[in-house]
C-alpha cells in the first residue's frame, strides 16, 4: 500500500510517459492518441501538448460496451465518443489512467474497432495495478503499483481557476 499522503505527482508521470512515447511518434508521426474517459482523455490531451508531433486526440466512452451492463445498467452521463481522424490502417495508442482487471481495455478495443481497423493498437497507462482478469498488458507504463482490491485509485482534475486543471491522484481505501 503506497503512502496515502505521498502519492506520486501525476503531472510528472505524464511527462515521463511522453518521453516513453516520443520514439513511437519519431517513427510513425501519423500515430493517433485515443483516451478512455475520463482520466485517459485528460492524459491524452496532455501528451498531445508535450509531444512535438502534437498528435490528434480522440476519446472513447466505453459505457455501451461494458460487460456488466445486464447487472449494473447504464451509467448516467455517458460521454460522446469522438474519433477525430480516420483510424483505418493507422497506429493508435490507447491511453488510460489505471490498468487493473483489463475489462475497460477490452471494451475500449471493441468500441475502437467499430470506427475502423487500426494498423496497430498499443496501450499506454500511468498506473498498472496488476490483478488482470483478461490477457491484456500495457506497452507503456510509468507506475506499477499494488493495491488492496477494495481500494479505488482515480485521477482527479483540479479546478481550472486556481490550479489550471492540474491532474492529481486520489486513493480511496474503501
Amino acid at each position: 500500500m503506497p503512502d496515502l499522503k505521498n502519492l506520486p505527482d501525476a503531472e510528472q508521470q505524464i511527462a515521463a510517459l511522453a518521453e516513453q512515447l516520443r520514439p513511437v511518434f519519431d517513427k510513425a508521426p501519423d500515430t493517433v492518441l485515443i483516451g478512455v474517459f475520463t482520466g485517459g482523455v485528460w492524459i491524452a490531451e496532455r501528451l498531445s501538448q508535450l509531444l512535438p508531433a502534437h498528435p490528434p486526440v480522440g476519446s472513447v466512452d466505453i459505457s455501451f460496451y461494458r460487460d456488466d451492463f445486464s447487472e449494473r445498467g447504464l451509467r448516467p452521463n455517458v460521454q460522446p465518443t469522438t474519433v477525430p481522424v480516420d483510424i483505418v490502417g493507422k497506429p493508435v495508442i490507447l491511453v488510460d489512467d489505471v490498468l487493473y482487471t483489463g475489462r475497460t481495455t477490452r471494451a475500449a478495443l471493441n468500441e475502437l474497432f467499430d470506427y475502423g481497423r487500426p494498423g496497430s493498437v498499443q496501450l499506454a497507462v500511468l498506473a498498472d495495478r496488476g490483478e488482470r482478469q483478461l490477457p491484456i498488458a500495457a506497452d507503456f507504463c510509468v507506475w506499477p503499483v499494488s493495491l488492496p482490491s477494495d481500494a479505488s485509485l482515480v485521477l482527479v482534475r483540479n479546478p481550472f481557476d486556481d490550479s489550471e486543471g492540474k491532474l492529481t491522484w486520489s486513493l480511496d481505501d474503501a
Binding site: 466512452d61 459505457s63 455501451f64 460496451y65 451492463f69 445486464s70 449494473r72 445498467g73 447504464l74 448516467p76 452521463n77 455517458v78 460521454q79 460522446p80 465518443t81 469522438t82 471493441n110 468500441e111 467499430d114 470506427y115 475502423g116
Partner: protein, 320 residues
C-alpha cells in the same frame, strides 16, 4: 401506496407507459442518455452491443410505419433481435386475446414488447399481466395507445425542444389542432409540465379540444393568433380524419383557414420559434408546405432524435 406500474420495487424504470408520473430527474436522465446515443448513428458501424442476444417484439395492433420502423432501427442499433408482428393480420384476427398473444410470445423468450394499440391502457394491461404472472423481467414500451399516450414521441419532442432552445425554463409552447384524438399532445403536456415550461397552450376548434384539458394546467385558445402569441415552440398536430365520426369539423379547408400554420400566422410567435410536427403531415391542412419546408421547421430532426431517444428508453429499461 399505489405502486407506479412503470417502476420496480427499487424505483427503477422498467416499463415506459406514460410520461405522466415520470420525475424531472427521470426525464432528464432519459434525455441525457438519448444525447449520448445520437453519435452512434453517425458512425461507420451504427451499432453498440448493449442489447445483444435480447429479443424485442414489435406488437403493432394498429398500423404505423414510421413509429414501428424507428423502434426497429433503435433496437437493431442496440444489437437486439427484432421481431415485427403485424397484429391486424395475425392470430388476433383469428380471435386470440391480447393476453394469450402475450403468453405465447413470452414462451418464445421475449425480452421486450413495443406495443401500439387502438385502445387506451392496452400496454398497462400487459404490464399488470406480466407482474401477476411473475414475469416482470420482460419490459413493455407503449408505442401509442388510443388517445392516452405516446411517451417516446413525447420524449423525442422534449429532446428536440431542449436541443434547439437549450432548456425549458421560461418557454411558451403551443400545441395546435386536433388535441382530442392526440396522444402526442397528452404525452407532451405531462412532460412539459414536469420539465418546467412556463406556458403551455392548446389551440383548436372547440370540437377537437377535450372538455377537461384545463385540469392538466394548460391554457385553451380557440383563436390561433392569441394561442401563438410570443411562443417559442409551435407543435402542429395531425388532423386525424380517420378517427373522426360525426360532425367534428366542417371541412379540412375550413380547418386550414382557421388553424393551418402559415408564415403569415406564425408572425404572432417569436421570430426564432421552432415548428414541430409528429408526422405524418397533412400538407395544406394543419401545416402549409412553405412552413414545413422552411428552416424553422425541425420535423426531420425530430425523426433522427426519435431513434436516439428510443435507443435510450430501451437501454434504460433493460439496464434497470
Amino acid at each position: 401506496m399505489m405502486l407506479d406500474p412503470q417502476l420496480d420495487a427499487d424505483g427503477n424504470l422498467i416499463h415506459l407507459l406514460s410520461t405522466e408520473g415520470l420525475s424531472r430527474d427521470q426525464l432528464t436522465r432519459l434525455l441525457d442518455t438519448g444525447a449520448s446515443f445520437l453519435g452512434v448513428s453517425d458512425r461507420d458501424v451504427k451499432k453498440v452491443p448493449l442489447l445483444r442476444g435480447k429479443s424485442v417484439f414489435n406488437l403493432f395492433f394498429e398500423n404505423s410505419t414510421r413509429t414501428r420502423t424507428t423502434f426497429e432501427i433503435a433496437a437493431k442499433r442496440l444489437s437486439a433481435d427484432v421481431i415485427n408482428l403485424n397484429m391486424s393480420t395475425s392470430s388476433t384476427a383469428k380471435g386470440e386475446t391480447l393476453l394469450d398473444t402475450v403468453d405465447n410470445l413470452c414462451a418464445m423468450h421475449a425480452d421486450m414488447f413495443v406495443v401500439r394499440h387502438e385502445s387506451s391502457g392496452a400496454p398497462h394491461l400487459i404490464v399488470d399481466h406480466l407482474r401477476r404472472t411473475g414475469r416482470s423481467d420482460i419490459h413493455v414500451i407503449n408505442a401509442g395507445d388510443g388517445r392516452h399516450g405516446h411517451p417516446t414521441q413525447g420524449l423525442l419532442d422534449m429532446y428536440t425542444i431542449r436541443h434547439y432552445k437549450g432548456g425549458f425554463e421560461g418557454l411558451k409552447v403551443a400545441l395546435i389542432g386536433d388535441i382530442l384524438h392526440s396522444r402526442v399532445a397528452r404525452s407532451d403536456i405531462h412532460a412539459l409540465k414536469t420539465l418546467g415550461a412556463e406556458s403551455i397552450r392548446v389551440v383548436g376548434p372547440q370540437t377537437l379540444i377535450p372538455t377537461d384539458i384545463e385540469s392538466l394546467g394548460v391554457g385553451v385558445h380557440r383563436d390561433l393568433d392569441s394561442g401563438l402569441k410570443d411562443c417559442d415552440v409551435v407543435i402542429a398536430l395531425r388532423l386525424q380524419r380517420e378517427r373522426m365520426s360525426g360532425a367534428l369539423l366542417p371541412s379540412a379547408t375550413e380547418f386550414h383557414d382557421r388553424y393551418g400554420l402559415t408564415h403569415e400566422r406564425l408572425k404572432a410567435a417569436k421570430p426564432d420559434a421552432i415548428v414541430m410536427h409528429p408526422g405524418p403531415m397533412n400538407r395544406g391542412v394543419e401545416i402549409d408546405s412553405a412552413v414545413a419546408d422552411s428552416p424553422r421547421a425541425v420535423i426531420l430532426p425530430q425523426v433522427t432524435f426519435g431513434i436516439a431517444m428510443r435507443m435510450a428508453v430501451m437501454s434504460v429499461l433493460a439496464g434497470g
